[in-house]
Structure formats: structure tokens, C-alpha cells
């Protein structure tokens, strides 16, 4: 298990836990990222939001908030 922010571009993973306050949980799940959701890291570079692809959608995520998302890397 690792933080989403540690995922390298091209790696695929499954979300296993999301922390954070009520608002954050509500916002992140309503865009479609919840537990068991599969995703692929598209781009992870310093000083830019993360770019992931999940549920047929490219989604940009704030870098610091994304430390709340824990994933299991798929082999």
C-alpha cells in the first residue's frame, strides 16, 4: 500500500483507502474516485497537480490533498 502521490506515470493501481474530512470525502467520491476504483497515473511531476485516468475520465487532483489517497499497485 502506498500514497497515490508515489505512483509513477503509467502505473496502474486500486484505491484502498481515502482519508480526510467530510467535505474532501464527499468531493473526491462524487467525481468518481472511491474505494476499489481502478486508476492509472498519467502524469506525476513536481509543482503540478496529479493527472490520473479512472472511470473513463482524465482527472486532475491537487497534489497535497492526494496524499490522503492510499492505493495498492497492480502488477
Amino acid at each position: 500500500m502506498t500514497e497515490l502521490t508515489n505512483l509513477q506515470a503509467g502505473q496502474k493501481a486500486v484505491i484502498v483507502a481515502i482519508e480526510g474530512d467530510r467535505r474532501y470525502l464527499s468531493r473526491i467520491t462524487s467525481i468518481g474516485l472511491n474505494i476499489d476504483c481502478k486508476l492509472e497515473m498519467i502524469q506525476n511531476v513536481k509543482a503540478r497537480p496529479l493527472l490520473v485516468y479512472g472511470r473513463d475520465t482524465m482527472i486532475a487532483l491537487d497534489r497535497s490533498e492526494s496524499a490522503n489517497i492510499m492505493v495498492e499497485v497492480c502488477s
Partner: protein, 672 residues
């Protein structure tokens, strides 16, 4: 007239909501604000089969949680029974994710139908959607449309009419079965016990579901009915409620999508070459700036013919009025008409040229999906001042023209952020500043005039930061600022016809409003500047200016520079002409301001001998950061449709320009 049938449009951002709204209503739209809120309210009318419809475009949001004003307004509007039928939109190219809105709606008793959009994009991606099967699975009416293709609206209307006859609430049995059998079923049951009954359009189950999510508005509602302690005790429990409900909702969606979507081919590469560049760490920002600059140039190209037409209008209209004068109308009335009505028409049409160009070009960039990439690239820099990354575009456009900047904010989806961006765009020195300031700066400071220009940009940057704080408190409150969670939509093919139609629809409305405002201010200014003798001394402006000179001196300006400062609010380009009129008597203030009198050739020499360097510097800064021009005010009003906020911003700029002027004057007096 009979009461119209009331529809409400509900959908996530990028679900094609505004396209459907515009296609259905055409030019019959009314845009305002929700009472007391900084959220835009759009409603429109249309007729079909001899029936009248009123449709409200509910603010875009990803769910119905009480996380923002947009979401609270949306769900209260529905629950209060304002709509006969809610049209819930889902993007066919990302059906699973965008059905979340429907899943969050389940449990609300207002009848609804589902509209699947972007079917053409789904087809491009190799997906086929079985709408009949989806309708059977969901046990509710489902229509599919390609938002821009009117032909697909035929079946949509049939299904709509049937839905209005049946008036079924969405079937909620399956979803609540999942709630009752999952890992937090006990918490759901506990919440059900506390809720005990539904409220307005919210069913008991819906409220219980939101209580698990610890939805603040629902907590307040339950608090009124149930013992506070019981609720407080419940809320101590795990805050992972939203994770549980989302898990249930996606399970439900997954079950409902069974056999609905068939993939005929694998999606092509996730990132195109262009997209790699657009999101690249090194090239993303330069590319965005490059495309925006090209966009500004294109806007000018589009605006060109319209502005030329505007330029022809006075040449046609003024001789007409001269003819009337020749056949007996008084000379004064003729000049008044030429200076006010003809000039207001000229300015309004010229302004429309800009607005048209910018709206088309940047509307296109938004439509194809590129602006979301700009938002991604500039998120870090813009978030510092409370804005989304897209706001960089209107700020850059404002280097050309503030009117264009204001029109460009249309691509920003939040009203508060849109208005905040406009408020900051006013501080960006526009092309007129570059036309006026170098002349004055060189006259007073020679080669060091370039330093004045640098100073202006330094002040502009500081101004933007401070102004962002001043207006940000209300327009982008800290507690509503979150980290970015945003979809980057797939690139769409441009829909030119639609884009041009939408823009043209707006033009006539803008013309009427802008013309009226410009005319009224022109008339007021005409009388203030009117002088029976023809010289400056006879005008009311002169009398006021000289009377309050002791006060304006505090701000570093004598009566002459102060009057020029005042007229720069109407038109910045005119400042040289006005100075000329005042100092060398080459015309009157009004004619100079509306641009019919040229500046005197030796203006520089006259000015240098008449005012001090400190006053000149203070004046240049005051003019640069004053209200940009009358048309910028008008277009701010047009985009914000809030007179209150437009006046607030205008007063703020007027006052801060005076403060800046005073500071500059007194500091400069120490050094030069």
C-alpha cells in the same frame, strides 16, 4: 397565458448542460443571480407541440451534497417542488462516472427523466449504448441526444411528454436495498430511526443517506426534530460515511449498467501528442500563453470588420444630423445628438466587436476542451490569489483590452470567481495605457520614461494581489477554496454553428443594455463638460474642479489633471486630447473625450512647463489604475449582471487610484 410546464436541468460539469439549455431556449433566456447568493441563475422558455415550457439551468456541481452554495441552491430548488420534472444529464462517454448525479438524486420525490448526452463522443470511442435497456434497468424514462444535433431531439420530446404525463419519482428500491445490506447497514438503520419521516421533496431514506455522509444542512434539519444529544452521539461515529454511500451508489450504477454499454474497440492512446505538450511541465505554460496570444490576435481579426463598421456609422449618421441642422434644427441640439447618441452607437458597436471576437475564439477553446488544460497548467499560480487556472486567460486578454478580458471570463464556471477575475483584470494595464503613458512619460522623464512603464507593471502586480484579497473574501471565500479536483474532458470537435448562434443570441441583448448605459453616462458627461463659450472655463466640470482643487491637491492633482483623470474613466485613449483641450485650448473636454478632437502637437512642451514632475507621475499612475473606461464598466455589468458589484468595483478603483496618486505624489516630491 397558461402556466408553463416547469423543467429543471441537473448535471455535472461538462455534461453538455448549457448546450442543451441553449439549443432548447435559443434567445429566450434570462440570466440573473439566485437571491442573495453569488451564484448565477439561468432560465429560459421554449414551446413544443403548443405547450409552453420554462426551464431552469441549475448550477453545475458533481453531487447534491451541501458542499457549496451551488449544491445547496440546486437541491433546495428541486425539493421545494419548483419543477414539474427534473432532467438529469449523464455523459454517455463516461456513463458510469456521470450517473453519480442520478444515484445521488435517487430518493428525491420530484419526478425525473434521464438524458444521456455526448453519444457522438461515445461512438467515436467505440462504445455503443443501449438506451432502452438502461431505461428498463432503471425503471425510468431515458432519452439520448447529441446536444448539438436538433434531429435527435424528436425522440427526446416524445419521452419528455410521456414522462410529464406519468410523473414517476425515480425508483429507489434497489439503491436502498444496497444501503441496508452493506458494511455500514447498522449506521443506515440508526440514521433511519432518527429521521423518522421525509421532508419536502426529500424521502426519509434520502435524508438518512445524507446523515451518514454528515451533510451539514441535513444535520441542522434533523437537529430541530430529534434530541440534540442523540444526533451528536451519532456524529461521533466514523466520518467515512461518504465512502460507504459512494460505494453503495457505484454498486447500484454498476448493476443498472448491466448490458448497457458495449465496447467495440479499445480506446486509442490516452494522451495525444498535443495533449502531452498541453500538460507538460516545461511546455504547458508557454503553450497556453502562446495559444492565448494567438487567440487575442484572432479576436482582433474577427472584431476588425465590426469595428470598421462602427467607424463608418458616425460618418453616415453625423452628416444626416448636419442636414437636419441645415434645415432648421438648432446647432446645439445637433452637436448634442452627435456627441451622445451617435457616439454611444459607435462605442457600443465597437465594443460588441471585441466581445464577439473574444467570445467566439475563447468559447471555441473552451468547447474543444483546451481551457481545462490551461486550468491544469496554471492551477498553482492562480490558486494563490483564489482563482482557478483558467483565469490567466482573461488577465492576459486584458493587456489588449479590458472589455475583451471581461467577456473572456465567460469560460469560468463559478460566478464568484468570474467576477473576481474581472475585478483583477481592471488592474492590468490595457493597450490604451500603452498609447497614452509613454508619450507623457517621455515628455517628462526622457529616456527614464521606460522606468515609469516598469513601475506601472510592478504596481499592477501588487495591485492584483491586494485586490484579490479585498474582493476574494466575499467572491472566493477561504472556506470554499479547496485543492483542485477537476475533470479534463476529452477533446471535442468544434461545433461552429452552435458557437456562433449562441454568441449572436447574446449580442442583441448586450447591445440594448450597453447602449443604454453608455448613452446615459454620455449625456451626463456632456452636460458636465458643456461650456456655452466653447472653452473649458464655462463648464460645470471646470467649476467643480477649481472649487475642489484644495482637496485634489492632497491627491497630487491640480484641477487640470483632476478633470483629465475624471474623463479617463470614460475613455483612457482620450487623456492626451483632454489634456490638450485644457492646457492649450484646442477644443472642449467633451469632444476630446469622445475622441473627435486631436491632441495638440506640442502638448509635451506645454505640459512640462505647466505641471511638476511629481504631479505628472502621480497623474500617470492615477489614470492607469483608474476605472479603465466606460465600456469596461458596461461589459463588467453585462458579464456579472450585478449593478451592485459593478458599482462596488468601480468605486474601489476610483478610490484606490486616488490613494495611489497621493502616495506617488508625496513620495516623488521627496526625490524629484
Amino acid at each position: 397565458m397558461k402556466h408553463p410546464i416547469k423543467l429543471a436541468l441537473l448535471g455535472q460539469p461538462n455534461s453538455g448542460k448549457s448546450t442543451i439549455f441553449n439549443t432548447l431556449t435559443g434567445s429566450h433566456q434570462h440570466v440573473g443571480n439566485w437571491p442573495g447568493k453569488t451564484v448565477e441563475r439561468k432560465e429560459g422558455r421554449f414551446s413544443h407541440n403548443k405547450k409552453d415550457y420554462l426551464i431552469v439551468d441549475l448550477p453545475g456541481s458533481y453531487s447534491l451534497s451541501a458542499n457549496s452554495d451551488e449544491e445547496i441552491i440546486t437541491r433546495d430548488y428541486i425539493a421545494d417542488g419548483n419543477a414539474d420534472l427534473v432532467l438529469i444529464l449523464a455523459d454517455g462517454s463516461q456513463l458510469e462516472r456521470s450517473l453519480y448525479m442520478l444515484a445521488d438524486y435517487v430518493g428525491i420525490t420530484t419526478p425525473a427523466m434521464l438524458v444521456v448526452t455526448m453519444i457522438d463522443v461515445a461512438t467515436d470511442q467505440g462504445k455503443t449504448i443501449d438506451l432502452e435497456r438502461l431505461s428498463t434497468n432503471l425503471n425510468m424514462p431515458v432519452a439520448g441526444i447529441v446536444a448539438t444535433d436538433k434531429k435527435t431531439y424528436g425522440s427526446f420530446f416524445k419521452i419528455l411528454e410521456k414522462a410529464l404525463t406519468d410523473k414517476h419519482p425515480v425508483d429507489d428500491t434497489d439503491l436502498y436495498q444496497i444501503y441496508k445490506s452493506g458494511s455500514q447497514s447498522d449506521r443506515f438503520q440508526e440514521a433511519m430511526n432518527m429521521v423518522s419521516q421525509g421532508h419536502k421533496g426529500f424521502s426519509r431514506e434520502w435524508l438518512a443517506g445524507k446523515l451518514i455522509e454528515q451533510d451539514e444542512a441535513v444535520i441542522d434539519l434533523i437537529d430541530q426534530k430529534v434530541d440534540d444529544e442523540q444526533v451528536a452521539e451519532y456524529l461521533i461515529g466514523p466520518i467515512t460515511g461518504a465512502l460507504y454511500t459512494s460505494e453503495c451508489k457505484f454498486k447500484w450504477i454498476s448493476a443498472k449498467l448491466d448490458g448497457v454499454v458495449t465496447k467495440t474497440k479499445e480506446p486509442s492512446k490516452l494522451l495525444t501528442k498535443f495533449d502531452r505538450l498541453a500538460i507538460s511541465r516545461r511546455w504547458g505554460k508557454p503553450l497556453a500563453i502562446f495559444i492565448i496570444v494567438i487567440g487575442i490576435a484572432m479576436s482582433f481579426v474577427i472584431a476588425g470588420p465590426i469595428m470598421m463598421l462602427a467607424g463608418v456609422l458616425p460618418k453616415v449618421l453625423n452628416p444626416l444630423i448636419d442636414n437636419f441642422v441645415a434645415s432648421g434644427m438648432s446647432v446645439g441640439v445637433g452637436m448634442f445628438l452627435q456627441g451622445t447618441i451617435v457616439n454611444a452607437i459607435y462605442w457600443t458597436v465597437a465594443m460588441l466587436g471585441f466581445v464577439f471576437g473574444v467570445t467566439i475564439v475563447f468559447g471555441f477553446l473552451e468547447e474543444v476542451g483546451y481551457m481545462a488544460r490551461v486550468s491544469y497548467a496554471f492551477d498553482g499560480s492562480m490558486a494563490k490569489i483564489g482563482l482557478q487556472g483558467k483565469s490567466i486567460m482573461p488577465l492576459l486578454v486584458s493587456l489588449g483590452c479590458t472589455i475583451g478580458g471581461a467577456a473572456g471570463t465567460r469560460v469560468i464556471d463559478s460566478w464568484g470567481q468570474r467576477l473576481l477575475t474581472i475585478a483583477l483584470a481592471w488592474a492590468v494595464p490595457c493597450a490604451a495605457t500603452f498609447a497614452v503613458i509613454p508619450t507623457l512619460a517621455t515628455a517628462f522623464f526622457g529616456w527614464a520614461g521606460i522606468l515609469v512603464m516598469i513601475l506601472l507593471f510592478v504596481i499592477a502586480l501588487i495591485h492584483i494581489r491586494i485586490t484579490a484579497r479585498v474582493f476574494g473574501r466575499k467572491l472566493a471565500p477561504l472556506e470554499e477554496r479547496h485543492g483542485l479536483i477537476m475533470e479534463l474532458p476529452p477533446y471535442h470537435k468544434p461545433r461552429w454553428g452552435m458557437l456562433i448562434r449562441q454568441t449572436l443570441n447574446k449580442i442583441w441583448g448586450i447591445f440594448k443594455k450597453a447602449f443604454f448605459v453608455i448613452l446615459v453616462i454620455s449625456v451626463i458627461f456632456y452636460f458636465l463638460a458643456y461650456s456655452p463659450s466653447g472653452g473649458v472655463e464655462g463648464s460645470i466640470l471646470y467649476k467643480i474642479g477649481t472649487a475642489i482643487e484644495p482637496v485634489t491637491r492632497i491627491f497630487g492633482m491640480g484641477w487640470q489633471t483632476f478633470i483629465s483623470f475624471i474623463s479617463s474613466m470614460v475613455s483612457k485613449e482620450a487623456v492626451l486630447g483632454v489634456l490638450s483641450a485644457i492646457f492649450s485650448g484646442t477644443g472642449n473636454i467633451f469632444d476630446s473625450t469622445v475622441g473627435t478632437a486631436a491632441a495638440s502637437a506640442d502638448l509635451g512642451t506645454i505640459l512640462v512647463s505647466s505641471i511638476s514632475k511629481a504631479e505628472a507621475l502621480a497623474f500617470m499612475i492615477a489614470v492607469t489604475f483608474n476605472i479603465p473606461c466606460l465600456m469596461a464598466v458596461t461589459s463588467t455589468y453585462q458579464e456579472s449582471h450585478s449593478l451592485k458589484w459593478t458599482m462596488r468595483i468601480a468605486l474601489y478603483y476610483f478610490a484606490t487610484a486616488l490613494v495611489l496618486s497621493a502616495l506617488t505624489y508625496h513620495v516623488a516630491n521627496i526625490f524629484i
